[in-house]
């Protein structure tokens, strides 16, 4: 079995469905509430487990009821939570996500700085036995140390590169083997709104493989100086919350399995596309059987 360790943030998301977002200073009554586990690294770990891999999550949460709930949710998804430390007197991460009928999402996240002490690092012992390590940027000290430890162990490492002003960009480009940018983060780092131009620019600054995810536009990466575009699967998307995190989890599993990069990217696209066709957060993550049948179906001319 293939082992993927993800390092970073686990969050409890409170997703409020509203007819109209309230004006500033006002009150709105939501028509629905979903309490779902979130966080880039944690949701990627759930994806790995849903796809049949062995998933470990390394992160920090509080010793509070929200933390209990985050733990229970990861347990339910068969994620190994042995790498989680509960920090006393700190709050677990929480997000309020207000979703309007057109799908527009407005998010407020709180991550307690007391969760992430300056000397609390991830070591080789946390990553031993992993076939790939995926880190997000929401626990800077943990993720940087995990990238260093992965290199020491010779385990391929993937950075989910999102907007994170507190990171040193040169370091973020130097430490991992694979850098997967979000489009806004890539534009922010390079100053170029054109993903192709931006990707070429950033490739000149790192020895890592670089790619950028573009949502419904698919993704783009540089293969030995050649720009490769991989379209997304065309689906009727009903819930895109967490789709990027699901993509990253599937990508990391593909790398861990030693697949060829075109195959890695294509499978990750299929996993994320299927997730978007279903309501309900982590419940919407497909199994490996569903992914393979979906890909075969689309290969058969239904793309």
């Amino acid at each position: 079995m293939t082992v993927v360790t993800t390092v970073g943030l686990a969050v409890m998301d409170f997703v409020f469905g509203v007819d109209v977002r309230p004006d500033r200073g006002r009150k709105a009554f939501a028509s629905s509430l979903a309490q779902v586990g979130g966080g880039p690294a944690a949701t990627a770990a759930v994806t790995v487990a849903a796809l049949g891999g062995i998933a470990r999550f390394v992160g920090r949460i509080g010793e509070d009821p929200i933390g209990d709930h985050i733990m229970a949710d990861l347990d339910r998804w068969h994620v190994d939570t042995g790498g989680i430390r509960r920090v006393p007197d700190a709050s677990s991460p929480v997000s309020s996500i207000v979703v309007e009928p057109d799908g527009e999402r407005t998010i407020v996240n709180y991550t307690d700085p007391r969760l992430h002490g300056p000397d609390d690092i991830v070591t080789a012992a946390d990553l031993e036995g992993s076939d790939a390590v995926l880190v997000d940027m929401r626990w800077p000290v943990g993720s940087r140390s995990a990238l260093v430890a992965a290199t020491d162990l010779g385990v391929p490492s993937i950075l989910d590169f999102d907007e994170a002003p507190e990171w040193d960009v040169a370091e973020a480009l130097r430490l991992p083997n694979y850098v997967l940018f979000s489009a806004p983060a890539l534009a922010g780092v390079t100053g170029s709104p054109d993903p192709e131009e931006a990707l070429r620019r950033v490739a000149g600054r790192t020895a890592a493989w670089v790619g950028v995810t573009l949502g419904a536009e698919g993704m783009m990466w540089l293969d030995d100086g050649t720009m490769v575009r991989s379209p997304a699967y065309t689906v009727v998307a009903v819930d895109t919350l967490g789709a990027g995190d699901v993509y990253h989890g599937a990508f990391a599993l593909g790398i861990a399995e030693g697949r060829e990069i075109h195959d890695v990217v294509r499978r990750a696209a299929a996993v994320a596309a299927l997730k978007c066709t279903r309501f309900g957060g982590r419940e919407g993550i497909p199994s490996i059987e569903e992914v393979e049948s979906f890909m075969e179906d689309r290969l058969g001319g239904n793309e």
Copy 2:
């Protein structure tokens, strides 16, 4: 000891402190998060207990971790939770409250309709032994049945009359002995933005005592056809979240103790004013000793 039973909503509030509220479709990182118990009737019950009364809360919450947290918080404040029923397969009420540096609050609340079944009523057995009953409008079936049961028992009843489109106004004015309006609710019911005119209008439609709270402007009520104005205490307010609920709790305790109405109103104003001078939700509710020393101090010429 004096017993006050409150009937209505208990909520878990997630209070996010932000520099700027995020634009629609964007994400903001909060600089603080407070997880505090809320809900008009529940916070009023906590106030009664903090002031030395015996407080009972009657309401409905889910069998979920948020519900456990709501229960634990009420227990901590010595509120009798024997009147709470946990409803299986329903979510406990949750609010997201985004507070900006100027104190402006934007609220999204979710109250699961499955919590409040059409046949789930409050009976005389729930209210037996009470010296006063305070109800909010957020559990319509429960609050209406509680007002009827209070009348049957001969216990004075107080309605916290806030904006609630699902209530029949005539019924809301007929059932309680005391109706305490919020200013927006009174304007909505009467069509008049002037509280004095609105209060006179609404008094013609009910045999109940009627008053309206006006925040920092104090309150106003009709004493046998005469308009009485009671100013608020002048304080430096640092946290007004829940101040209205605290006022209602102190008001209900005063009625339960059989105090004269001028005294009831004055004490409730002191309790709410002191609460506003302190950060931290229910932690900011004063003790009876603090209230009495504050009132004496202000009587001594420091108002």
